[in-house]
């Protein structure tokens, strides 16, 4: 029996980042699509993709580690207090989302408030890079060996 066949694909330039769940305000069509001559034509266009009115958001990944800086202040909302109690030790945004049964995007809004209020600290993940960190890969391999 012969297996079905596929054709491999080539790397593509990354798509413009778009928040998946926020309603987007309508915008004029891109001038690139309307025949702009080059990147220098329209510098303000760079800024039109942000500022959709939903406020600034911390760059939070599913595996950003969140740690409470202090216990819940009296002014904390029940949701904020719940996060602060859970984050006595580091927890990823994904784990917080799972334990609190909140969608990831809701979790990031909540955490952005807590970061702004300096009630939690966010420890950014280590991401894949063009120049990979061999010692990082080796550390992960050694850790997996011990499983």
């Amino acid at each position: 029996m012969t297996p079905p066949r596929r054709t491999r694909r080539r790397p593509q330039p990354p798509p413009a980042p778009q928040p998946p769940r926020l309603p987007q305000p309508s915008r004029p069509p891109s001038r690139d699509a309307a025949g702009a001559k080059g990147p220098g034509d329209n510098p303000e266009r760079l800024y039109s993709v942000t500022g959709s009115g939903d406020g600034a958001r911390a760059e939070l990944d599913l595996v950003t580690l969140i740690v409470a800086r202090s216990g819940p202040p009296v002014s904390a909302t029940p949701e904020q207090a719940a996060v602060l109690r859970l984050c006595g030790t580091p927890l990823s945004v994904a784990e917080l989302s799972a334990y609190l049964r909140l969608p990831f995007s809701t979790m990031t809004v909540l955490l952005t408030e807590l970061i702004a209020a300096e009630l939690v600290q966010a420890r950014a993940p280590i991401v894949r890079q063009a120049l990979p960190d061999r010692s990082l890969l080796e550390a992960v391999m050694h850790g997996l060996q011990r499983l």
Partner: protein, 206 residues
């Protein structure tokens, strides 16, 4: 949910707490069609009971979805199962098992961003369901290995026949596994890490 009852607040078991020294996390994604064993693999190697994170999207956010021919926005919930492996006192690895349907790729873009690499789990009875997944990884420049989850009644193909069918370059590892077994799932992850390491050594990782 009720956030006021601190006594009943869900959270990690005491033994599941990460040490305060945990400074950063890395992630690996496990992709494949529905029922191919992604969650089983996560569970077999995770130090915590696998958890589920969700995201709610509207149809408009998902993109093309005219199944119902409706103009109204319908909320769709996408769930991802994940597990965790402590690598060192400072470093934590998370494993995510993603939904395989094309309509959820929107969400995937955020997930794959920064992942060290991916495991494509395939079932030789339904090889074609993984084709789009692999293409998506290739387009995104995410390095991956292919793990063939051995189901008893699945057809067995020689590795080179699979490589040809999947149109994979000779350096991409293809391995058999039984994801119910911790040792086998660990072998798959080690194979991925070895592959990433070889890419790093050759400077080919972009």
């Amino acid at each position: 949910m009720d956030f006021n009852g601190s006594d009943t607040l869900p959270g990690p078991r005491t033994e599941d707490h990460l040490p305060h020294t945990a400074q950063a996390a890395v992630k690996i994604v496990i992709v494949g069609g529905f029922g191919v064993g992604k969650t089983t693999m996560v569970g077999s190697v995770s130090e915590i009971r696998p958890l589920t994170t969700e995201e709610t999207m509207t149809q408009a956010g998902i993109g093309v979805d005219d199944d119902y021919g409706s103009e109204s926005k319908t909320a769709t919930t996408v769930a991802m199962d994940f597990g965790r492996i402590s690598i060192t006192e400072k470093l934590v690895l998370y494993l995510f098992g993603t939904p395989g349907q094309e309509r959820f790729w929107f969400l995937w873009n955020g997930l794959f961003e920064g992942a060290l690499g991916a495991v494509v789990l395939v079932d030789t009875r339904r090889l074609e369901v993984s084709f789009d997944v692999m293409g998506r990884l290739e387009e995104g420049g995410v390095p991956f290995v292919v793990a063939v989850n051995s189901f008893p009644d699945a057809p067995r193909y020689p590795v080179e026949e699979l490589r040809t069918a999947l149109d994979l370059s000779p350096d991409i590892p293809i391995i058999d596994c039984d994801v119910r077994r911790r040792a086998s799932s660990k072998d798959v992850l080690m194979t991925l890490m070895g592959f990433l390491h070889s890419l790093a050594m050759s400077g080919a990782l972009t």
